[in-house]
Amino acid sequence: MSTKTYAVAIRDTLAEEMRRDPAVFVMGEDVAEQGGIFGCTRDLYREFSKDRVRNTPISEAALVGAGIGAASTGMRPVVELMYMDFTYVAMDQILNQAAKIRYMFGGRARVPLVIRGQQGIGRGNAGQHSQSVEAFFMHIPGIKVAMPSTPADAAGLLRTAIRDDNPVLFIEHKALYAVKGEVPDDPEYTVPFGSARVVREGRDATVIATHLYVDKALRVANTLMKEGISVEVIDPRTLIPFDEQTILKSVAKTHRAVVIHEAHKNAGPGAEIAATIMEKAFDELDAPVLRLGAKACTLPFNLGLENAVVPQESELLDAVRRVCYR
């Protein structure tokens, strides 16, 4: 075990995988000398050369497309998108190409492509640099979606992503990069996709949370403990595939659930999770599954406004209370 930040966990995993497999390489804007705007590829070009740590033009669509072409022909590219918001300029290559190639070609292709980058609020980046994009990729089949919330998961899930023979959208969070945690030193350490992490066990309500909200949910759980409410906190870690089992098992115990994420509530990831719980565990539910997510407006620049848009801990506290006392 080593203590390292989420950003360093990512960088170290990239380095280890590049050492292990010459097919793995990294490309993206400013990934070489600059080491990526968030430092996730810092110094990698020194060890692996700029051939395998490629600075690219600002051409995200071509970048993802080139990743697809390379992935289809024996390489294992890791494409860095500086902000997940830029998936929009590359959406066709991600959703119409990467995600569909294998199926559309009758299962005769493999596209071991990782697209990674960060999303979310926290740096005053406003409406075009603060979005959460996971919902899109949950909707169109063919691409896996990982969302690590800790350094260890960042390492373990990224290694799984790189070794997966399918396209993976690997979504980091800008406000997590500086967070420190214990990360196994084993260069074979992987976290399987489709296995949620029960972050904290509890009896009375299940909170399903991603990214920053995992920690916030823990804090809320601690607060509620004092009121005698025992909260189970689950981090799905990957949304595609999704570990239904762990969540349904939890709900069968707690009979109450709240989903919280930074993405917009409207048609967001929580809608799928809540609707699935209802469909599969209706008779277990003592209360509606509540969803908390960003309000239905563009993420604003001003900090006070930004905080007014994304769910606050106090709202989660209220929501859990609401499902418990009804």
Partner: protein, 324 residues
């Protein structure tokens, strides 16, 4: 093979493509095909001549008008026709249809229903070849219309900056569906866009197989030599409507007939005969065999089974154990 021998082979392939398209048209009329079927007839010299220069492990990406590219790259017409009919024996097990034929074994990374969608993928395959240190090249086939998509620009810039072994073959058939090139495209010769990337751009008569062959050879040699990409514009014409049901309000019968006079197959035949590269009998024989090959492909496709709806969820993800 010498260029002269190759020309006969190109002639053979052009005939196979032509027959394939004629049969497809006829099958569509008989309701044995459905969907969007974009026929390549009239453009055969391009695919046949370019692909004659490629090895099995060289890559291509293709577009919605992809039958010709697929056949020319050496794929079995039976599986192609079966795919058009959505059969289990098709290249894509009926999942893809006409617009999505791929044959990875032959280096065909796929047709594409998104105009321009295949261009960066070919670029990535070229990057892969370069990084793996092979002598493979990668060819992107696309239309005039596709040259107005942003992805064209991004891909060519990338390939130029990285000096990738890629060849960009623009088949300028005068139209994007109903819109004539002059109405959609700011330059009469798309090849001049090469200047925006500091790479060679060449205009060639796309109905002249030998001219396409010669130009493509230059481009491919350049690519294999590590000198970077080329943009090759082949001026040609499609004989059928944009798709099989197109009312063709945008052009006259005379215009179509005039282009049919410039038939690339007729032209190559005349050239082969004039240069004594083949006898009329030998060429007739090739043509007859092309017809037979395609007729057999149609038979095969018709008699092939439909895919099993119970297997419809297969192949969304690769579930196998070990990595490539």
């Amino acid at each position: 093979m010498s260029m002269d021998e190759r020309l006969v082979d190109i002639y053979r392939m052009m005939n196979i493509i032509r027959k394939f398209e004629e049969h497809a048209y006829e099958l569509f009329g008989r309701n044995l095909l459905r969907g969007s079927v974009h026929l390549y007839a009239g453009q055969e010299a391009v695919a046949a001549s370019v692909c004659a220069l490629l090895d099995d492990d060289d890559y291509i990406t293709s577009n919605h008008r992809g039958h010709g590219h697929c056949l020319a790259k050496g794929s079995d017409p039976r599986y192609a026709m079966a795919e058009l009919m959505g059969k289990e024996t098709g290249f894509c097990k009926g999942r893809g249809g006409s617009m999505h034929i791929a044959d990875f074994g032959k280096g065909n990374l796929g047709a594409n229903a998104i105009v321009g969608g295949g261009i960066p993928i070919a670029t990535g395959a070229a990057l892969s070849a370069k990084m793996r240190g092979t002598r493979q090249v990668s060819v992107a086939f696309f239309g005039d219309g596709a040259s107005n998509q942003g992805i064209f620009h991004e891909s060519l810039n990338l390939a130029a900056v990285w000096k990738l072994p890629a060849v960009y073959v623009c088949e300028n058939n005068g139209f994007g569906i109903s819109v004539p090139v002059r109405e959609s495209t700011s330059v009469p010769d798309i090849a001049v866009r090469a200047a925006a990337y500091g790479i060679p751009g060449e205009v060639v008569d796309g109905n002249d197989a030998t001219a396409v062959y010669a130009a493509a050879r230059r481009a491919i040699e350049r690519a294999r030599a590590g000198e970077g990409p080329t943009l090759l514009e082949c001026k040609t014409y499609r004989w059928f409507g944009h798709w099989t049901g197109d009312p063709q309000v945008y052009r006259t019968r005379e215009e179509v007939e005039a282009w049919k006079e410039k038939c690339p197959i007729k032209r190559l035949r005349a050239e082969l005969l004039a240069r004594g590269l083949a006898s009329a009998e030998a060429l007739d024989e090739l043509e007859a065999r092309a017809e037979q090959t395609v007729a057999e492909a149609v038979e095969f496709a018709i008699s092939s089974p439909e895919p099993d709806p119970a297997r419809v969820m297969d192949d969304v993800f690769y579930e196998g154990g070990a990595s490539l």
